[in-house]
C-alpha cells in the first residue's frame, strides 16, 4: 500500500451511453468485483468511487454515471466539465447506440478538447452472433478521433478490469504531462477548478468524498 510517489491522483470519469447498453452493469461489475457485494454506494450505480494503486501511485476514481435518455442530453455538459476521462458505451448489437457514441465524442471534444481521455466501449460481446457494429468500423472510428476502443462483456466480466486500468494509466500520463508543462510549484493553490487534483501526501490524507472504494 505504501505509495512511493507520495501523490494521490483524483480523477473524474464520466460514463455515457444509451439506456440499455449496459453501462450500469459495467461499472457495477468493476466496482464490486474485488470487494463484496455490499459495497455499493448509497447512490447505487449513479456515482461510484474506487481506489487504486498503480505503479506505486495512488489513484482515486470518481465515476459519474449520466442519463442516457434523449431528453436529458441538453444537460450533459455540466456533468462532463472537469472530467479527466470518459467511457462511452455502446451495445455491439445496436447500431443506433454506436451512432449516439459518435455524437457524444463530438460534444466532449468540443467542450474539453484533447485533454480528456476517451474510451469507446463495445459492450455485450457475449452476444457476438447478433453483432451489428463491426469491429473494424468501431476501432477505425475510435482511432480517427483519438480514442481507444475496448470490447467488454459485463455479463461475463470480460475486458472491464483492463479497460479501467488502461484508462487510469492514460489519465495519469496526461496529468503528469500537464504538471510538467505547468512547471512544478506553480501547480498548487492557484489551479482554480481543474479536474486533476494532486494531493500532497500526508499521513491519512483526508479524502473528502468518503472512504474506501465504494463507500459514500
Amino acid at each position: 500500500m505504501a505509495a512511493a510517489g507520495g501523490k494521490t491522483y483524483s480523477f473524474k470519469v464520466v460514463l455515457l451511453g444509451e439506456g440499455c447498453v449496459g453501462k450500469t452493469s459495467l461499472v457495477l461489475r468493476y466496482c464490486e468485483n474485488k470487494f463484496n457485494d455490499k459495497h455499493i454506494t448509497t447512490l447505487q450505480a449513479s456515482f461510484l468511487t474506487k481506489k487504486l494503486n498503480i505503479t506505486g501511485k495512488r489513484v482515486n476514481l470518481a465515476i459519474w454515471d449520466t442519463a442516457g435518455q434523449e431528453r436529458f442530453h441538453a444537460l450533459g455538459p455540466i456533468y462532463y466539465r472537469d472530467s479527466n476521462g470518459a467511457i462511452l458505451v455502446y451495445d455491439v448489437t445496436d447500431e443506433d447506440s454506436f451512432q449516439k457514441v459518435k455524437n457524444w465524442v463530438k460534444e466532449l471534444r468540443k467542450m474539453l478538447g484533447n485533454e480528456i481521455c476517451l474510451c469507446i466501449v463495445g459492450n455485450k460481446i457475449d452476444l457476438e452472433k447478433e453483432r451489428h457494429v463491426s469491429v473494424e468500423e468501431a476501432e477505425g472510428y475510435a482511432e480517427s478521433v483519438g480514442a481507444k476502443h475496448y470490447h467488454t462483456s459485463a455479463k461475463l466480466n470480460k475486458g472491464i478490469e483492463e479497460l479501467f486500468l488502461d484508462l487510469c494509466k492514460r489519465m495519469m500520463e496526461t496529468a503528469q504531462l500537464e504538471e510538467r508543462s505547468r512547471g512544478n510549484g506553480a501547480s498548487n493553490s492557484s489551479t482554480g477548478r481543474r479536474g486533476v487534483q494532486i494531493v500532497d501526501d500526508e499521513p491519512q490524507a483526508a479524502v473528502p468524498a468518503g472512504g474506501c472504494c465504494t463507500s459514500g
Binding site: 452493469s25 455499493i40 442519463a67 444537460l75 455540466i78 456533468y79 487534483q197 468524498a209
Partner: protein, 476 residues
C-alpha cells in the same frame, strides 16, 4: 482689657489653627501632584513598554514572513494580523492551554473541534475580529443591491440598480432626461435610507466603472447627451438600461462571490497562523467547515436574494412548471414503472418519494453551503432507498444486482421530487452552492448530487409548453 487680650489670644489660636490646616492641605495637594506625576510617568513607561512589545511582536511577525523580499498588501496585512495574534496571546491564557493540549494528542478530532469552538466564542480574538470585518462587506454590498425585502418581480428588480446607474450617469455629467432622474430619486427615497446611502457610497465606483465600460461599447450616448427635452420613452433605451442592469448585477455578484472566497481564504490562513497545530489535512477541513458555518449563517439570506435576482427568469420558468405539473404521476416525467408503486394505497396516503421531497425542503432551512450540500446528498440517498423499496414491492424475488439505480433512473425521479418540492428558489440555491462548494467535493458525491439536482431543475424548466416538448418517455 483682659477680655480683649483673651480675645486676641483666641484669634491667634484660631489663625494658627487655620494656618495649620492650610499647610496641611497644601502639603496634601503637593503630594497628590507628585503622585499624579509619578502615575503619569508610570503610565508613559507602560505605554512605551506596550509599544515596544508591539514593535517586538511585529518584528517577530515580520521575521516569520521574511521569506521573500517584496511584500504584497495581503502579506503586509497578514503581518499586522499575526502581530495582533501574538499580542492577544500575551494577554490571554487559553490559546496556550489549547496549544499544549493539542501538542499532546495532535490528531484528536474532539480536541480540534473543542479548540475551534473555543476560538469562535472569543469575539475579541483577532481571527474573530477579522471574520466580523470580512463578513460585513459582502453582506453590506448584497444588501445595498437589494431593495429591502422585495420579492423577485422584474419591476422591483430594476429599481435599486437603476437608481445607482442613473446616479452614476448624472455624476458623469451625461444629462439624461430630468424626469428619469427624478424617478430614480423617488425609488431611492422609498427605499431604506440606510440602504440607499450605502448603495451610493459603496457601489458608486463599481457601477460607475461598469457604466464607463458599457458606454464605450454602446453608441447611444452621444445622441442622448444634451438631448434633454426628449421626453418620449425610448423603448430601446429602456431595454438597454435593463440589459445594463442585468450585466452590472451579474458583475457585482461575481465580485461578491470572489470577495467571499478571498475572505474565507484569509480567515483560514490567519486561523492556521494562530494555531499551527491545526495545520493538518483533517483539522484544516474541520476548521474551514466551522469558519464557513459562522461566516455564511448571517449573510446567506441577502446573498441568496442576490442570486435569486440574477436567476429570476429561470426561477419563474421553474415555478410555472412546478405549478403546472405539480400533481403528475412519476411515470409522466419518465420514471420507470417498476420504480414507483402503481397502487398508491400501499403508501398510506402519502405519494411516491415523499420522504425525499421532505428532505429536499429542509435545504432552505440551512444557511451554510456545506450543510445544504449534505441535505442534497441525503435527498438523493433517500431516493435510491425508496426506489429500491418500491421495486421490492413489485418483484417479490430479490432484484438482480445489475438492476441498481443508475443515472437513467435517478434523474427522472429527481425531476419528480423537485417538481413536488414546489421550491423554485432551488435554482438559485444550486447556483450559489456551485460557487461555494469546495474544490475537493466537486468531483465527489456532493458534486455529483449537486450536478444531478441542477440537471433535474433544468429539465423541469424545459417542461414548459413553450419550451421543449412535454415529457414523453423515450422507448429504449
Amino acid at each position: 482689657m483682659i477680655r480683649r487680650r483673651r480675645e486676641t489670644a483666641m484669634d491667634l489660636r484660631l489663625y494658627w489653627k487655620k494656618l495649620k490646616t492650610f499647610w496641611k492641605t497644601l502639603s496634601l495637594q503637593r503630594q497628590m501632584m507628585e503622585n499624579l506625576i509619578i502615575a503619569k510617568a508610570r503610565q508613559d513607561a507602560l505605554q512605551r513598554k506596550m509599544e515596544e512589545r508591539r514593535l517586538r511582536l511585529q518584528e517577530e511577525a515580520n521575521r516569520r514572513f521574511a521569506t521573500c523580499g517584496t511584500m504584497t498588501p495581503e502579506e503586509q496585512e497578514q503581518r499586522v494580523l499575526y502581530a495582533s495574534v501574538l499580542e492577544y496571546e500575551q494577554d490571554h491564557e487559553w490559546p496556550k492551554i489549547w496549544k499544549a493540549k493539542l501538542k499532546k494528542s495532535p490528531n484528536d478530532p474532539a480536541l480540534v473541534s473543542g479548540l475551534i469552538a473555543c476560538l469562535l466564542s472569543y469575539p475579541d480574538h483577532p481571527v474573530m475580529k477579522l471574520l466580523k470585518r470580512l463578513q460585513y462587506r459582502p453582506s453590506r454590498s448584497a444588501h445595498s443591491l437589494l431593495l429591502s425585502d422585495c420579492p423577485i418581480s422584474p419591476h422591483h428588480q430594476q429599481s435599486p440598480f437603476k437608481s445607482a446607474l442613473t446616479h452614476s450617469l448624472s455624476d458623469a455629467s451625461i444629462s439624461l432626461s430630468p424626469s428619469r432622474d427624478l424617478n430614480a430619486n423617488d425609488t431611492k427615497s422609498e427605499a431604506d435610507p440606510d440602504d440607499s446611502s450605502s448603495l451610493l457610497t459603496t457601489d458608486r465606483e463599481n457601477s460607475f466603472e461598469d457604466l464607463e465600460k458599457f458606454l464605450t461599447q454602446l453608441d447611444w450616448v452621444p445622441s442622448h447627451s444634451g438631448d434633454d427635452d426628449d421626453t418620449d420613452p425610448d423603448v430601446t433605451f429602456e431595454s438597454q438600461i435593463h440589459d445594463l442592469e442585468e450585466r452590472a448585477l451579474k458583475e457585482h455578484l461575481k465580485a461578491i462571490v470572489k470577495d467571499i472566497h478571498n475572505a474565507i481564504d484569509r480567515l483560514l490562513s490567519l486561523c492556521l497562523l494562530s494555531f499551527e497545530c491545526l495545520n493538518t489535512a483533517n483539522s484544516k477541513d474541520q476548521c474551514v467547515a466551522s469558519m464557513e458555518e459562522v461566516f455564511f449563517t448571517p449573510i446567506w439570506r441577502p446573498l441568496l436574494a442576490l442570486f435569486r435576482k440574477v436567476h429570476g427568469e429561470r426561477e419563474q420558468a421553474v415555478e410555472s412548471s412546478m405549478h403546472l405539473y405539480h400533481h403528475v404521476s412519476p411515470g409522466d416525467v419518465g420514471v420507470a414503472s417498476k420504480l414507483f408503486p402503481r397502487d398508491l394505497a400501499v403508501l398510506h396516503g402519502s405519494y411516491p418519494y415523499e420522504s425525499a421531497v421532505q428532505e429536499l425542503k429542509l435545504l432552505c432551512r440551512e444557511y451554510c453551503p456545506q450543510k445544504k450540500l449534505e441535505c442534497i446528498v441525503r435527498t438523493l440517498r433517500i431516493i435510491c432507498g425508496c426506489a429500491e423499496d418500491y421495486r421490492l414491492l413489485q418483484e417479490n424475488d430479490p432484484p438482480p444486482r445489475s438492476a441498481a439505480i443508475g443515472a437513467d433512473d435517478l434523474l427522472p425521479i429527481l425531476a419528480f421530487v423537485a417538481l413536488r418540492s414546489e421550491m423554485p428558489q432551488l435554482v438559485s440555491e444550486c447556483a450559489a452552492l456551485e460557487e461555494f462548494i469546495h474544490e475537493g467535493y466537486l468531483i465527489g458525491e456532493e458534486g455529483y448530487c449537486l450536478t444531478s439536482l441542477q440537471s433535474a431543475l433544468t429539465y423541469v424548466e424545459s417542461m414548459l409548453p413553450s419550451g421543449a416538448p412535454p415529457p414523453a418517455p423515450k422507448p429504449t
